[in-house]
């Protein structure tokens, strides 16, 4: 079963400050935790892909009616907290395992080493039709 674990720029409690206001050591601890989690997924044969997306400031929204030039909206956006920050794509045995991995990602350490309780959206990928 393939799942996409998505996280947005918001999705952390109000009392967690932006990363530039953490100490460098806290940032290092957070990065190491995320890398270790990826290493664990690779080691268990569950890793497919993990990507961070460039900042909302660089996002563009495009709408076109199929003729003429498209309507392109550039950032910054007032609702930028809702934009995707990154994702992990995993291939696991069960939805329980997907939730377990999402929970680990959510509990990544922040200021003071406390888990930041990042909200993770767990979405199962649709597959090919099941025919016999």
């Amino acid at each position: 079963m393939k799942f996409m674990l998505l996280q947005a720029y918001g999705g952390v409690p109000e009392d967690v400050p932006p990363m530039t206001e953490w100490t460098p050591a806290e940032i290092d601890a957070h990065i190491t935790y995320q890398k270790d989690l990826n290493a664990e997924l690779i080691e268990r044969g569950e890793f497919v892909d993990a990507r961070g997306l460039a900042a909302p400031k660089l996002a563009k929204f495009v709408v076109s009616d199929g003729s003429g030039s498209p309507l392109v909206t550039d950032g910054p956006f007032p609702e930028s907290k809702e934009l995707l920050a990154g994702y992990r794509l995993i291939d696991v045995e069960s939805v329980e395992r997907a939730i377990e991995i999402a929970a680990k990602g959510s509990a990544a350490p922040g200021p003071g080493g406390r888990p930041i309780k990042q909200e993770i959206e767990v979405r199962e990928l649709m597959g090919p039709p099941i025919t016999h």
Binding site: M19, T20, E21, W22, T23, P24, E26, I27, D28, I31, T32, K35, A50, R51, G52, A54, A55, K57, L58
Partner: protein, 421 residues
Amino acid sequence: MVPLSSISRQKNHEIEGLLREAAPRALVAVARRFGDFADAEDAVQEAMIDASRQWPAQGLPESPTAWLIHVASRRMTDRIRSEASRRGREQAVAEGVPASAPPEPEERSEADDTLLLMFMCCHPSLTPTSAITLTLRAVAGLATAEIAAAFLVPEQTMAQRISRAKKTIEGSGEPFAMPAAEERGERLRSVLRVIYLIFNEGYTASGGAELARADLAAEAIRLGRIVQLALPAEPEVGGLLALMLLTEARRPARTDAGGELVPLEEQDRGLWDRGLIAEGRSLLGEALAHGAVGEYQLQAAIAAEHAKALAPEQANWGEILALYGLLEQVTGNPMVALNRAIAAAMVEGPQAGLSLLDELDRELEGHHRLHSTRAHLLEQAGDRRTALAEYQRAAELTRSIPERNYLTKQAARLHASRPRG
């Protein structure tokens, strides 16, 4: 006793090396004989796959190149026959297959052959991405799957990119031959640019979480050596090779134990590869002696100045500043101007660098390096508040995760040490 598996692994490695050395010559020979670069390329790739299956069991042929030419030519002939029979025109066989087909490579040097291939792969009708892909496959002899892995795209996508690139060349109608003398200078510049792009892709890995994909950098250096062998008197060829070697020398110091980015001024220079530096400097010396100075020699000269210094502040910044001035004249590139601002700050103080940066605001708007450099110089000048804001902006604008981590930590460091209240 050496375990069997390791013998066969070593043997496979040896075969892979032989194949990759032989492939460009074989491709040139087959493409010449049949006058069809695109199909010849497919045929040689298929012959390489045959070789990697047959050689381990049957032993190595006397001449790997002749073997590849023979097998690839047979595949070409088969293809032409089946196309001909499909069209019901047996005549095409007689027209398509030259009567006398000597299996040996012709009386041309290996370096000439490779150069001809490089010129084809860097055809002006190709985009840089296509030229890079085709060069890695046809000249460097990498398999489609390997190239796909290096650029993090599915194999099918990469196969399509290669096939479209070959069709573009075919569509241009250029014969498979050395470009006319008056075009060679421009084509050589494209070749050098493609090699440099491959190197940078391997060295910096612009997008992904991995800072360096060593294989591509090694491939670029290998290609640089091949071109240098073919054109030993072209100073920019030597300059580019020197530049790549001098840059590659820093790789062991460029990331820390956790894989995080370490900028030049903080690198442990004891880790720099002295062998590569010595080779780079000697190549640069030879290139400069030819007199025609170009952008790669200038960049290599700057890298050589850094390599000579045991610590950043011991570098000859006056010389580096002068070299950046020349490089800016040659290229007109605003990123060079940005580096010149850093050198100016080292020579004349941060304010001098900051004023130079102000002139770049319009040209480099939205580029993270403008902001990270300004942050660095502002901090040196004592304006930590504005420096913090500039580091934050730079972190928001970069497309590289290691760079973003580094810049975020710089901002965090200033935030943590700010005066409270």
